[in-house]
Symmetry: C2
Subunit: 346 residues, 2 copies
Amino acid sequence: MTVTIKDVAKRAGVSPSTVSRVLSGHPRISVETSRKVKVIMEEMGYHPNIMAKSLVSKTTNSICIILPKPAEELFSNLFFMELIRGIVTQASRSGYDVLISSGATEKEELAAVSRLLKGRRVDGAILLYSRKDDAVIDFLKTNGYPFVLVGRSDKYDDILSVDTDNLMAAYDATNHLISMGHTRIGFVSGPPNLIVSRDRLEGYRKAMEHHGLELKSDWIVEGEFLQESGYRAMSFFMNLPSRPTALVVVDDIVSFGVLRGLSELNYSVPADLALVSFNNIPLSELSTPPISSIDIGIYHLGYTASQILIQAIPKQSKEPGLTRRLIIPHRLIVRESSMFSPVRSE
Amino acid sequence: MTVTIKDVAKRAGVSPSTVSRVLSGHPRISVETSRKVKVIMEEMGYHPNIMAKSLVSKTTNSICIILPKPAEELFSNLFFMELIRGIVTQASRSGYDVLISSGATEKEELAAVSRLLKGRRVDGAILLYSRKDDAVIDFLKTNGYPFVLVGRSDKYDDILSVDTDNLMAAYDATNHLISMGHTRIGFVSGPPNLIVSRDRLEGYRKAMEHHGLELKSDWIVEGEFLQESGYRAMSFFMNLPSRPTALVVVDDIVSFGVLRGLSELNYSVPADLALVSFNNIPLSELSTPPISSIDIGIYHLGYTASQILIQAIPKQSKEPGLTRRLIIPHRLIVRESSMFSPVRSE
DNA sequence: CCTCCTTGTGGAAACGCTTGCTTATGTTTA
DNA sequence: TAAACATAAGCAAGCGTTTCCACAAGGAGG
C-alpha cells in the first residue's frame, strides 16, 4: 500500500541503505545516484515513515506545549494564543512539530507529560507559566528532559527559561502613573501562587516606596486572570471611602472587567480612574478607551522559548545551546486609559 | 537507560509477548500474571514507547489541526483559540494527542499535511474553514485519509464536516434588525473566496428580499476577518450620502473595527448605527457597547469535529461512525449594539 | 484411555528505518 | 607492479512493539 524505502530501493536498483543515505544527505553518495533516487522517490510519492525513523533515531522532531492546569479558562485568554503562535511559528521553521497538551488536574497533567516524554513521543516541552511548587518541573528536571519555562522558577535557577522582568515592568507601569501626577494608586493582582503575580506586585511596591507614596493594604486586591476579577476589584475600589485615582492591573483581561464595571456605573476612564495593565494583548487597543499596557512581547516570548528548547535538545551533530535564562525586554504602550493627570490635592 | 518491555519481561520471568498482552488487556492472560507484571512495570517505571507501538500498529493516536493559510493573522482571532480548545479537550478525553500545523503558503501547507499523513505521524486531520478550491481537501480526499472539515466544501458533499447553518444564521441576524424596525441595513462581508462569507451574505440577501427591503449594492462591502476591515467599512458607510441605520457584520473582530471607528468619529452605537455580528467570541460582550452576536458554539464545533474525526479513524475494534455532516445550532445573543429602533421615516 | 478443546504462555517475524561494518572498484604512491 | 588508500554502495543487525503460530497442560467428551 504505502511505499517504503525498500520499494524505492528496488525500483532504483540500489539498496535500502543507499536510499536512506540519499535522504539524509550522506556525503559518500554519488551525485548521480542521489539524483536518480530522488527522481524515483518523487515518482512513487515516497514519504519517510516518521515513526520508524523516530524509533531508531530516538528523536521525534516534535515538542509539546504544556498548558497550565485550568486550561479551560486560560485558553480563552489571547495571551496563550499569542504564545502558542510564537512557538508554532518558530518550531515549524526549525522543522519541529508542536503538540498541545493539557490536563484537567495537576495529576492528569503530570501523567500526560510523563506519557509524552517517557514514551518518547516528544523531544522536549515548553511550560507556560509556573506555579510556586510545580510537580511537572520537578519531574522534567529529575528525569533530565529538555524543557523551557516561559516564566521563572523560584526553586531552581539552572533551568532554561524565557521571561519578562516583571518586577521592572511593574515598576515602569507604576512609575508612569506617578509621573502623570497620580499619588493614590491601587494594584489589582493575580493568584498569589503565581510567580508573575508576586513579581508584579513587588515592582509596584518598589515604585511606590521609591517615590515615598503611601502603600495602603486596602489598595491591593487579589484575583484571577479573569475579567470577573477585574469587575469585582473595581466595585471594591469604588466603594472605598478613600479611593485611588489610578490602578495598575496585572493583566489586560482583568482590565477589561474593570473597564466594563466602570462604564456600567457611568464612571469615565481615565478621568475617574486611570488604568495601566500588562501584556498588551491584541485587544487592549480595541477597547474603549484603549488600555495603556506593558508590552511584554508575548509572541516573541513564545518564539524564543521554542528556539531555546530546540537548541537544548541533544543532537548528534550540534553542541547544545548555552542560553540558560533569557529576559525579553518590555515596553510601555501609553494609550488613552492613562492619559489624564489628577488635580493636585495637597 | 530506558526500560523496555523486554526488561520488564525478564524481571517478571515471563516473555515479552506476555507483557505486551498484559498491557493491552488481552483476555487470555491469567489474573495472577497480569497483576505481577503490572507491579513490576510500576516498580521499574515502565512507559511504552509510543513510536514502536505506532510502527507496528500503524496508528498513532494523534490528530492534527490544520490552520488556514494566513495563520499569522487568523491566529490572533479568538475564534480559532476557542475551536482549538474544543478540539484539544475532546481529543484528550478520547486519548488522542493534538498536533498543530500551519504553513505560510498554500504549498507549504500541503507539504506539511502530506508529511504528517503520509509519514503516518497522525491518524487524521481537522481543517479549520475551507476556501473555495482547496488543494488540501483534494489531497486528503484522494488519498483516503480521515479528516473533518469545520465548515463546508462546495465541491464534495460526501465529506465529514461540522458546520453552522450560516445562511440561516445570517437570515436570523438580519431578521432581528428588521424586527427592531430597521429597513436600511448594510452588510460587511469577508473574503469572497471563503464559503462562510458567501453563505452569510446570501442569508442577509434572503432576509432582505423576504421582507421586500431594498438591496443596495453600495451597502455590501467586502473585507478580511480583521479589525481594519471593519474600520474601513465603517468609514465607507458613514461617508455615503444615504447610509444604513444598521449593519450585519460577518465576524465579531470586524465589528470591533467598526465600533472603534464610530467612537473616534463620536457616533454612538446603536443610535447612529446598530450592529449584529457573528461568532460571539468571548470578547463581544466586553466591548462598549457589547455586541449582539450570533453564537455559533465555537467550542462545541471544535469538540464535535474532534469526536467525528476520531470515530472515523479505522480501528480494529469498532465500526466507523456514520455521521457525515453535522450542523451545530446557532442562536442570537442580543446585546446593546442592536437595542435601538430607528425612527420610521416613511 | 485416547482425542479434542480450552487456557495460558513463549518464540519469532515483522513494522520501516538507520548505521557500523564490509566489500568492490578505481586511483595513487612507492 | 604491488601495496595502500579513497570512494561508493551493500549487508545485516537492531530500535521496541505487536501478533500469528506453536506448544504445554489440564479438563471434557466419547
